[in-house]
Amino acid sequence: MKRDHMNQENFSSSGSCSSSGKAKMWSCEADEAGDDEHFAVLGYNVKCSDMAEVAQKIQHLEQVMGSVQHDGLSHLASETVHYNPSDLSSWLESMISGLNPMPEFDSSSDPFLESSTITSVDNSCSVNSRAQMAVDLDFGSDLIAIPGKAVFPRAEPPVAPPAPPPPPPPPPQHQHQPLGKRLKTSPYLDNSVGGLQSEPVFARPVESTRPVVLVDSQENGIRLVHTLLACAEAVQQENFKLAEALVKNIGFLAVSQAGAMRKVATYFAEALARRIYRLYPSNPQDTAFTDMLQMHFYETCPYLKFAHFTANQAILEAFAGKNRVHVIDFSMKQGMQWPALLQALALRPGGPPSFRLTGIGPPSHDNTDHLQEVGWRLAQLAETINVEFEYRGFVANSLADLDASMFDIREGESVAVNSIFELHQLLARPGAVEKVLKVVRELKPEILTVVEQEANHNGSVFLDRFTESLHYYSTLFDSLESCGGGSNGSDGAVSDQDKVMSEVYLGRQICNVVACEGADRVERHETLAQWRSRFGSAGFVPVHLGSNAYKQASMLLALFAGGDGYRVDENNGCLMLGWHTRPLIATSAWKLS
């Protein structure tokens, strides 16, 4: 009966699964419509309507575990620290609470116990409870038994060796992790997960107490997320042995997933591993490579284009009627933003103004004057479309090194300052962003356009940062998935190479958010609300981005494959681009008060 309940749980979470039956495929897809969207982001597939039921089931499970006390499995329910090698309670407890919110576990007990509970197991699987052997759970072809996190002691069992891994079921689910691997890593995996302090040490072979956890592919996604979070928590508590073990698990679990989830998990696992083993990534010095990655990102998905177009629109409107304009770009890179603005200025009623551009960039490490090259190209373009153009490039290690006098603002010039994904990097050094905003004030710009990621990855608590960024990048990767091989074009407009490069570009950010600390951690994203208060206290007032910008942005997004997934939202005069319900980047414009 208990098993039935648990089965039902699984059904409710697996949406459109057909009714239970031996030959049922567990790889059914969850019904997308009606899924709880918060859970969906995490990779769960829980229908909104089932939420209450799921919660109930979890409670029931807890009760069951407690009530089982009387059956002689008291150690299952208790949470005390045990060093008795044959005692699995705390370990199991951690398994269940930490990793499987809705587990279909079949806890095997001490071999000497009558495995009464096991026989009450799911009617769809046949269980042999051989006293000597570990419970050999032959679940039939449609269920996969995975030897759970545990743990077999590496000591050779005097009793017969554990049952061979169950045969993989016909549906190809890559979950038959060989026991051998588990054996080796057992001493570490013994460690509890998710906040329990026990460390059961298995000195005596107790292979018979192999607990097995039934999973299906949906569950694996859930386990993956839980393992990631558990690992992050372990890192936060500086429990590195545990974290190490979990990180290895993430690797295994990630492989069983497909698509975006797999990639995100892999990047996060790598970042966690770096943090654990202290192999901090050196901040990329190779700006050419970074620029190239950003170009691919630019091509693959609309985020950068959205940023450029909306910022350009704001600048265009601010420059209406002005004859001499000067744009200062904090994020010069390849200068992809400016051709469109030049063209719009060229065609504006009344003709183009004389245009001056100052580009700021990091020093390049290969002897080429990258900034000058970009300037030269833009000058050529400007000449082609008959816009008077002047360019100057500044190399600076950090924006905080700049000074207002460097810019040589001339009489009668209207200034605009533009920053795309640059300001958050200043938060790594205290006082830097205030200094830069002060410099901007001194320039007396008509408008300051800022585009930033809409997420809080700068909290002081590591675990919070981790969780936030996990959600954020999962959504981002999801949107990337829809970009590749879009509905247009016979051979797919966006090549796989572009997509992979974009993923690498994002992967670097993930690595920085998770693995780095202090001055190295430059990807300190903050939400629009946080930026608003910052700008407010620096003496700026918001400029509403008009309906022109909104319309243009909407049209632009409509052109992209997967266009219906993207949403443009207006938020108090600022525009946000998001994927489905989650806003991902925000454009805002400011002027001096």
Binding site: M292, M295, H296, Y298, E299, P302, K305, F309, N312, Q334, M336, P339, A340, L342, Q343, A344, A346, L347, P349, G351, R377, Q380, L381, T384, I385, N386, C483, G486, N488, G489, S490, D491, G492, A493, V494, S495, Q497, D498, M501, N548, K551, Q552, M555, L556, A558, L559, F560, A561
Partner: protein, 149 residues
């Protein structure tokens, strides 16, 4: 000859492509940019000032049409009307925003194509525009269609 041009002016893009295959004279005629300008802006009363110089400088109307106008219109048209037929394209009236967007994209295309030398990965899209080879501008690949004009 003038009559011929007058007739060609009234054709849609597909027919122009077909016409171009008739003979060398017709082929040369259909490549006349003025025709394409007419096609692009036929329904937009009077086209904005100075557009011609800019467009010509950036590659001409024929290219503008192929690269930007047609995909933009058809994509956005599909969204509004829901799978409209090709004739719908002709009768569609541009909105100002669509014009601006197309022109901006066109400019970006020029920048990438000519100045960046197709850097950043040309990738697929071999059949992008009939007869025009060379690495397709990357950032407009999302507009990519295997179309022959």
């Amino acid at each position: 000859m003038d009559v011929l041009i007058e007739i060609l002016k009234r054709l849609d893009d597909r027919s122009l492509g077909v016409a171009a295959c008739v003979c060398r004279l017709w082929c040369a005629l259909t490549r006349n940019d003025a025709l394409w300008e007419h096609l692009c802006f036929r329904h937009l009363s009077p086209p904005p000032e100075g557009v011609r110089t800019v467009v010509v400088a950036l590659g001409g109307y024929r290219r503008l049409y192929t690269v930007c106008v047609k995909p933009v219109l058809s994509r956005l048209g599909k969204m509004r009307v829901g799978g409209a037929a090709a004739t719908e394209l002709e009768r569609r009236v541009w909105t100002r925003h669509e014009v601006e967007l197309s022109l901006s994209l066109f400019c970006v295309d020029y920048y990438e194509r000519v100045l960046l030398g197709g850097g950043g990965g040309s990738g697929g899209g071999g059949g992008r525009f009939g007869g025009e080879s060379g690495s397709p501008p990357s950032s407009l690949m999302f507009l990519c269609k295997a179309v022959n004009v």
